[in-house]
Every structure is written in structure tokens, then in C-alpha cells.
């Protein structure tokens, strides 16, 4: 054994300069006593006036640059046109790039300058502040409890339950108007979700031009995004029957896709044998999962994939789900050909389209 009495067991020689703070051994069995904080070591800027002046110049330069960039920012605001004939730099909109660069650099220069100032020139002597228990002192707690009890007993709320209970009742009753006042946020659902604008004889039209579709125009393997013809019709005053919000709401349910497959590939469910025309079938375009419009069509496999969550439906097999999070087959719209040779609906969908909901029923 040597004459060391250092309790650390690891360091024979404590380094010089320790012990500026009180060194204590924690009773909890901390094997090594706190060596205490190191004495402050000066930075070059603390002892060398030249270094300090250099740091001062750096900070001032950064702040100066910031003003410069701020001015450049204003210049760019007026210098680079936007709108119809925007100025372009390297394929970017010049105005946006110049404003962003100048504003960003002006801000960064202030930030970096301030931090450089703090690091080089402000005192870096560490300060020790004692922590106090977060909790109040026992005395304060007791006084608070006394005050609270006095307040409560002053009010008599405990002695007069009639007042207390009727007040609770009154406050609870106030909740009713608060809820009822929100009633007019929207109409009740009613049967809105279970029907669409499709009805017997309504033409299935191209969703962009609104042109009606003849079966012979649809090639095998082709998919057409289609809509009910009524979206493109006008009323007696020459205004569209559907526009704006109504159009979007109706479209959100009535959008369909037309696909043509080889009739031999199709295996219609019982009762659906006559729902198509020469291998042309019509399905809802709205996913039965959470309602995204479905449109990724795999010609060879007859699969239709939803781009949102990848539910995959087999259109040759009644729109059955073959993959993904959707639970229900894609609703099919029965179609036929009208007197003029165009594709029309036989009826509305036989079940609600789109995502499931509680009162949807088992259809």
C-alpha cells in the first residue's frame, strides 16, 4: 500500500486546481467525492486585448453585413419582376430566390454575430445557483390550507348543500345551450349518403368533355373516367344544373369508371349477369376504404388500385377486394344501352358508395 488516501481508487493524484467547490461524499454510496468545479480558464479574448479587438471587429462586421443584406433584400424586391413575366435565375423564380437569400443572410448574420459576441466577449465564468425544492415549505402549505378552508367555510358551501347542488345543476344545465348552439353546424345525415344522382336512363359520359359513350368506342382493356350526364346539362335558364359545391358533393359519390374486358374473363355474381354491356362494366370510382378516387388500372390483371392506401379491387370479379385495407367490394353500377346507342345507367347503385359508416346496413 502506498500512502494515498484518495478515496477515488482510480486516480492517485488529484489534479491541481480542484476543490474550489465544497467536496462532499454523498451518503448514498457515491464512491467518489465531487472534485468541485475547475477554476475559470481565460480565453484568448480575456487576456489578449488584440484578440478581443479582433472578435469585436468580427461581430461588428457580421452586423454590418446584415444591414447590407437587408438593403439588398429591398433592392431585390423592386428589381425582380414577378407575375406574367417573371425574372428567372437558373430555373428558379429570381424574386423568390433573391429575397430568400438576402433575408436569410441578413438574419443569419445577426444571429451568428450575437452568438460570436456571447462566446468571445461576454464573460464565460460559470455561475453556480442553488436549487431550492420545487415544493412550497410545510409552513406555506399549512397556511394555504388554512386560507382555503377558511374561504370554503366562509362561503358556507359545505354547510348549505342546497346552494351547492343547485349551482352544480345550473352550471351543468348551461352545458346544454353550449352543445345545442352547435346544432346548425350542419344538416343531419338522413339518407344522403345512401343514394347518388344516378338513375335509370342517365347517360354515362366522359368526365372531361361530357360526351356520351357508345359501347363500340370502348376498346378491350381500356378504362374511361366517367360521370353522370346530368353534370353537363343546363336548366331552362341556361345555367348548369350542378355547379360549385353541389357539383363537388354529387361528384364525390357519383364518379364512376368504365372498363371493358373480354366477356369470357368476367365472372359476374348472381343477379349481376346483365349489369354490363359486351364486357363493359361500370364501377364506383370512390374507394370503399376512406373515399379516395381510384384510378390506377392494371389492364392485364383487371385490377384497380387506389393510389392513397393501395386497396386493390378485381373488376373482373365484381370489384372484390384482393389486397389492402378496404373491406368491401367496389359498388357496381348496372348499365345498358339506350335507344340512341349510348351507355346509360339501369338504376342508381344498389348500395351506398364510398367509405363505410355505422348505419350503412349490411348491403
Amino acid at each position: 500500500m502506498t500512502e494515498h488516501d484518495n478515496p477515488t481508487g482510480t486516480t492517485p493524484q488529484p489534479r491541481g486546481g480542484h476543490g474550489t467547490d465544497v467536496a462532499t461524499v454523498e451518503p448514498a454510496g457515491d464512491p467518489i467525492a465531487d472534485p468541485g468545479m475547475h477554476p475559470h480558464e481565460p480565453r484568448p479574448t480575456d487576456v489578449d486585448e488584440k484578440a478581443a479587438r479582433r472578435a469585436e471587429r468580427q461581430v461588428a462586421t457580421l452586423f454590418g453585413l446584415s444591414s447590407l443584406f437587408a438593403i439588398l433584400c429591398v433592392v431585390s424586391y423592386f428589381a425582380f419582376p414577378i407575375g406574367d413575366d417573371p425574372a428567372i435565375i437558373l430555373g428558379f423564380g429570381a424574386s423568390n430566390v433573391a429575397l430568400g437569400l438576402c433575408l436569410g443572410l441578413a438574419l443569419l448574420c445577426i444571429g451568428i454575430g450575437a452568438i460570436q459576441w456571447a462566446r468571445k466577449l461576454m464573460s464565460d465564468v460559470e455561475i453556480v445557483e442553488a436549487r431550492h425544492p420545487v415544493a412550497s415549505s410545510e409552513k406555506d402549505r399549512e397556511e394555504a390550507v388554512v386560507a382555503l378552508n377558511q374561504g370554503i367555510s366562509d362561503s358556507g358551501i359545505a354547510r348549505r348543500p342546497l346552494i351547492r347542488n343547485s349551482l352544480i345543476g345550473a352550471l351543468a344545465a348551461l352545458g346544454l345551450p353550449a352543445i345545442v348552439f352547435l346544432r346548425d353546424l350542419g344538416p343531419l345525415p338522413g339518407g344522403d349518403l345512401s343514394s347518388t344522382v344516378w338513375k335509370k336512363g342517365m347517360r354515362v359520359v366522359n368526365d372531361v368533355a361530357g360526351t356520351p359513350i357508345r359501347p363500340e368506342e370502348v376498346e378491350i382493356g381500356q378504362l374511361i373516367n366517367a360521370e353522370p350526364g346530368v353534370f353537363f346539362e343546363e336548366n331552362a335558364e341556361g345555367e348548369p344544373k350542378f355547379e360549385g359545391t353541389h357539383l363537388n358533393q354529387a361528384k364525390g359519390k357519383a364518379a364512376v369508371i368504365l372498363v371493358r374486358m373480354k366477356p369470357s374473363d368476367i365472372t359476374p355474381a348472381k343477379g349481376r349477369e346483365n349489369w354490363g354491356v359486351d364486357g363493359i362494366l361500370c364501377y364506383s370510382k370512390i374507394c370503399t376504404h376512406v373515399g379516395c378516387p381510384i384510378s390506377l388500372w392494371e389492364q392485364q390483371t383487371h385490377h384497380l388500385l387506389c393510389p392513397c392506401h393501395q386497396s386493390t379491387f378485381d373488376l373482373a370479379d365484381n370489384g372484390k377486394v384482393i389486397f389492402g385495407p378496404a373491406a368491401r367490394a367496389l359498388p357496381q353500377l348496372p348499365i345498358m344501352v339506350d335507344g340512341e346507342g349510348y351507355l346509360v345507367a339501369q338504376s342508381d347503385f344498389h348500395e351506398p358508395v364510398g367509405p363505410s359508416y355505422w348505419e350503412r346496413g349490411e348491403r
Binding site: A98, L107, P133, V290
Partner: protein
């Protein structure tokens, strides 16, 4: 009583006073500011780079307020239909909502408008991202422990609201992508049993999309949530100031003090400067990095969607959950329960946030630790907690990747279905594997710390015994390092009640106590404790013996099985006398 000393014609004047002092006096006369602030002005904050993460979140919130206010000056939160007639050629003549048209106007016809839009969106990404990383830092270092559980909960609310606020924000432009996000949200609402359709009809004022959701979301986005966020941030900061910041253990840094720099001037300059840096970086991002180019997506149309639709990154987990959940649906008594939407969209997020909020209390219950903690823990010193976090991070990463399974399939030419099947299994297996590996890893690191304490560091000096056996010489580490390594609590297991105790306690309570003891056993399990004073002393004794220089001037090597009679030359291999750890006076190369 004082009177003017002259009878001159001009009034007597008091000495010129410092105008700032004057203002302060005026303010203090009316507010008592001095008492409230005398201690705060020089309040000490500890310094560590990881304490900056929360600051990023704070400052990006300020950037959001500034840029967001700018945007409100032009944005029209209306779904009224207009025909676009602005500068963007490709959409001229197209019918769209006023919200979308005004977003295009801000992007193309307001100078600096696109910059502010992109800064606003980038700052939102930073805000949520910084909150996430800050939260992980707090978790990993045990900074959520007593007395900071409340701030953990406030932080969790901030994160949740931040995500909600972000979703509301990117829905406002009413472009095709944001409308698709709203459609999905509507699908989630509609799937809630019993009240789903009512909720949806009330929120959207009728059938989706209706014409009310944008103005309603606007109020939520610019008033309601920012107001709550502001209040919660205020509470978060007040608690931080009152409880004082946590610090890392080290020489002079204990559970009873805070060591660092004063608020004024150091943190005023550093934190204030950092605001400008966050602001500046956001401006550079807004100027140079394109984000959410809504003009490319076109106005919302419920019958259209783009392939590869992706939400903002922080919604990726919700998206992943929705994507990989199997298509389960129950029909019962004429009603439909959509498990495929309800569980990933409503139940699981609820479960995740419940565990999140309950975590500090669960851990305290398992460990039985009711003390105040102001010193941070190294992640390795709480192996089970760290492993839990890494397990959760793995789950998050997997779900996030699952939210982009189509992108993964296209990018890496993989089969989309196989990715999804893989994810369905991986979300269960991956976190468990990550948990087990991390726990062992942490414990290994603890072992390494213990070795370092007991045996010192590897000096790089190789000693050869007379038989020719080689051993590396270990030298003791510094007191500072040794103190820092041992400045942690010893883990204490919760004891199961003994049969004698059980007599007095109700049966259910005994079962809970046993469960708790078992959990505590698992929690601390094989974690390595810091050495005791006795162990350290023995190790020291051993080391000293090894290094002892005998009276004959020779050092006897006591390593391995060597027990021969040969003596080891007391010098290290030539050259090592200049290794910087010894005085070199009189040393020279021995040249033999």
C-alpha cells in the same frame, strides 16, 4: 424640505438622469417589476447542445406566427367558386375555390408571397420535427422525471396540437392534394360507430366536401390552435424557469445546484441570436427549396387524385397505419363497424398518446422512485427505458415507411404487396428486436464504463513479461471523469411483499405489489451498477501494486499467469517516456 438655492429667473434643475433608468423607474412604480425580475435577469441556465432542440421548436413557432400573419393579409378562406385569372398561365380560366385562387395569387402575384408561404411551410416542418427530437432527448435522459412530469404532458399536448395545426394548415389551400387529405380525414370521422356520419355532416356542413370546411379550418388554424399553443408554450416555459433546467452531472454539478451562464447577457445573446439563425435558415429554405407547389396539383376535385399522394412527413405514421391494416369490417344487427379504419385511425393513436402521457407515472410506479431529479441520465444508464424508446422509434420508422409503401415499391422496384405483408409482420417483430438489442447494448456500455472506472484507460503501452507474454498497461482515469461516471443513482429493486407483510394487506394489493416487484426486477434486470467505494479501492490497490517500483528500481509485472522470478525493466518501451503523461525532464531515448 428643499428650496431653490437661487432667486434667478430660471427654475432649478435636477441633474440629467439616464433616460433608461427613468423609464424603468416609471415602469416599476406601476408594476413592481424590479422585485419580480431581480433574480430572473441573471438566472443561470446550464449549457449543452441538446438543450437547443426545444429552442428550435420555440423559435420556429415564432417564425410561424410572423409568416402566417403575412399570409393572412391575402389569403381568402372561402370555398366560393371563382374563375382564375391571375399570372399562372396553366390554370387561367379554370374554376376553383377562392382559397385556392388566393393561394395562387400569394404565390405568383405578391412579391415575397411565395417566400413567406414556403417559409411558413418549412417552419411548420421544423416546428413538429424539433418537438419530436426534443421529446426524444427529454425521454432518453430521464428529464421527464419528478418534478417535470407536468411539463412532459404539456409537451405532449404541444406535439399533438402542432401536428393537428400542421394538418389544418396544409388543408387550407384547397388544392388537389390537400383535398385528398381532407377526404381521408372525413372517411375516418365517418367510420366512428354510431355518431360518425353526424360528426362528418356537422364538421363539413353536409356532405363532403361542402363549402364550410375551409373557413372553419381557417379559424381553427389561425386563432384556436395557435392560441392554445401560445398558452401551453407559456406554461411550458414558466415551469422550466421555476423548476430550473436540468443539467448533466459533472464536477461541481449536483442535484442541488445549476451551473451555467446567466440569462443576461449570455443567454439573451445566445438564445436571441439563435432565433435569428432559425429564422435565417427558414428564409434560406423558403428561398431555395421548393415545397408544396400547389399550382402543380390543380384545384380540388373529388373525382381526381394523383398517384404517389403523400401527406406532410409527420402524418406519415397515421398514413402507414391506415395502409397496412387488414380490411376488417363487421356487420352486426344491420350496423357496420369498420375496424380497418376505426383501429388505425382512432383507437391506436389514442392508445399511443395515452401511453405517452402516462409514461412518467408508469416508470415511477415500477421503479418506486419518488425523488426529485435534476441531473440527467445517460441513455445507457436506463437500459430498459432507452430500449423502449428505440423500440418505439423502430415502430415509428416502420409505420412511416409503410406510409410510403408505393414510393418504396416504385423507387426500389419492389412488389408493393410484399412490402405491405412485410410491414404487417415487421411492426410487431421489429420493435421487439430493437428493444432487445438496445437493452444489451446499453448494458455493454455500462460494463465498459465500469471497466474504465476499475481498471483505467488503455494507455497504448505494451508491456512484455520475461516469458514473452504481452499485456497492455492501463492507467487510471482522471478524477473528473471518474466522478462524472459515478454520479448516478444506484438502481434499487422494489421488494415483493413477504408472507408476513401480506397478512395485513388486501389480496388485490398484494397481487399489485408482486407485479410491481416483478416489473421492477425486469426493469433493472441485469443493468450494471456503479462500483462501490470498496470495489474501487481494491482495484486501486491492484493497480498500484502493478505499477509499484521496487526499491531495486525495477517494476514487477504482475499480469496474466506470470509468476516467475524475472524482473521487468521499469521503463516502458523506448519512446513511450514521451507519451505526454509524464514529466520528461531528464528523459532521453535510451538508444540500446
Amino acid at each position: 424640505m428643499s428650496t431653490a438655492t437661487t432667486n434667478g429667473k430660471t427654475a432649478a434643475r435636477t441633474a440629467r438622469r439616464n433616460p433608461i433608468a427613468g423609464i424603468l423607474t416609471w415602469a416599476d412604480d406601476r408594476t413592481g417589476l424590479a422585485t419580480a425580475s431581480k433574480k430572473q435577469i441573471r438566472k443561470v441556465f446550464p449549457d449543452h447542445w441538446s438543450f437547443m432542440l426545444g429552442e428550435i421548436a420555440l423559435w420556429s413557432f415564432v417564425v410561424l406566427l410572423l409568416t402566417g400573419t403575412f399570409l393572412t393579409l391575402w389569403f381568402k378562406p372561402s370555398m366560393g367558386e371563382v374563375v382564375y385569372n391571375g399570372s399562372y398561365d396553366q390554370l387561367r380560366g379554370v374554376s376553383m375555390s377562392e382559397a385556392y385562387a388566393s393561394t395562387l395569387h400569394i404565390s405568383f402575384d405578391v412579391r415575397g408571397g411565395l417566400l413567406m408561404r414556403q417559409m411558413h411551410h418549412w417552419a411548420a416542418m421544423l416546428f413538429v420535427g424539433a418537438m419530436f427530437v426534443h421529446m426524444m432527448r427529454v425521454f432518453m435522459t430521464g428529464a421527464f422525471r419528478k418534478p417535470r412530469e407536468l411539463n412532459w404532458i404539456i409537451g405532449g399536448l404541444l406535439l399533438q396540437l402542432g401536428i393537428l395545426e400542421g394538418f389544418a394548415g396544409y388543408s387550407l389551400p384547397d388544392d388537389l392534394l390537400s383535398g385528398t387529405g381532407l377526404r381521408i380525414a372525413q372517411g375516418l370521422m365517418q367510420a366512428v360507430p354510431v355518431v360518425g356520419t353526424y360528426v362528418s355532416f356537422f364538421v363539413f356542413d353536409g356532405e363532403f366536401p361542402g363549402d364550410a370546411i375551409i373557413p372553419r379550418l381557417y379559424t381553427v388554424h389561425v386563432l384556436l390552435i395557435p392560441g392554445i399553443l401560445l398558452a401551453l408554450i407559456g406554461a411550458h416555459m414558466l415551469l422550466l424557469v421555476y423548476q430550473k433546467h436540468t443539467q448533466w452531472p459533472g464536477p461541481g454539478r449536483t442535484n442541488e445546484n445549476v451551473v451555467g451562464y446567466p440569462m443576461l447577457p449570455v443567454y439573451a445573446a445566445k438564445a436571441g441570436g439563435f432565433f435569428f439563425i432559425v429564422f435565417g435558415v427558414t428564409a434560406l429554405m423558403g428561398g431555395l427549396m421548393s415545397l408544396n407547389p400547389v399550382w402543380r396539383f390543380g384545384p380540388y376535385n373529388p373525382s381526381q387524385v394523383t398517384a404517389g399522394s403523400q401527406p406532410d412527413w409527420y402524418m406519415g405514421v397515421a398514413e402507414g397505419l391506415l395502409r397496412i391494416f387488414p380490411g376488417w369490417e363487421t356487420h352486426i344487427f344491420g350496423f357496420t363497424i369498420s375496424w380497418n379504419i376505426l383501429i388505425p385511425g382512432v383507437v391506436l393513436p389514442g392508445v399511443i398518446f395515452t401511453v405517452f402521457f402516462a409514461y412518467p407515472f408508469l416508470e415511477a410506479w415500477i421503479t418506486g422512485d419518488k425523488r426529485e431529479h435534476h441531473l440527467l441520465q445517460r441513455p445507457r444508464n436506463a437500459p430498459t427505458r432507452t430500449a423502449f424508446l428505440v423500440g418505439m422509434m423502430t415502430l415509428y420508422g416502420l409505420l412511416w415507411a409503410a406510409g410510403g409503401n408505393d414510393i418504396l415499391a416504385v423507387t426500389f422496384h419492389l412488389n408493393l404487396n410484399y412490402i405491405t405483408y412485410f410491414m404487417r409482420v415487421a411492426v410487431f417483430v421489429g420493435p421487439v428486436i430493437a428493444f432487445l438489442i438496445t437493452r444489451r447494448w446499453c448494458i455493454s456500455l455500462q460494463r465498459a464504463d465500469r471497466d474504465r472506472l476499475l481498471h483505467g484507460f488503455e494507455s497504448g503501452i505494451i508491456m512484455r513479461s520475461p516469458e514473452g507474454a504481452y499485456a497492455e498497461k492501463h492507467l487510471p482515469i482522471s478524477v473528473d471523469e471518474a466522478y462524472t461516471l459515478t454520479a448516478r443513482d444506484r438502481d434499487e429493486l422494489v421488494q415483493a411483499p413477504t408472507p408476513a407483510d401480506e397478512n395485513g394487506v388486501a389480496n388485490r394489493k398484494v397481487r399489485m405489489m408482486r407485479l410491481r416487484a416483478r416489473l421492477s426486477q425486469y426493469w433493472y434486470g441485469t443493468a450494471i451498477q456503479k462500483p462501490t467505494a470498496q470495489e474501487l479501492e481494491e482495484a486501486q490497490h491492484h493497480a498500484e501494486h502493478e505499477l509499484e517500483v521496487h526499491e531495486d528500481g525495477h517494476q514487477h509485472l504482475e499480469s496474466g499467469d506470470y509468476s516467475g522470478e524475472y524482473e521487468f525493466d521499469g521503463h516502458a518501451a523506448d519512446g513511450h517516456q514521451f507519451d505526454g503523461r509524464h514529466a520528461i525532464e531528464g528523459e532521453e531515448l535510451r538508444k540500446h
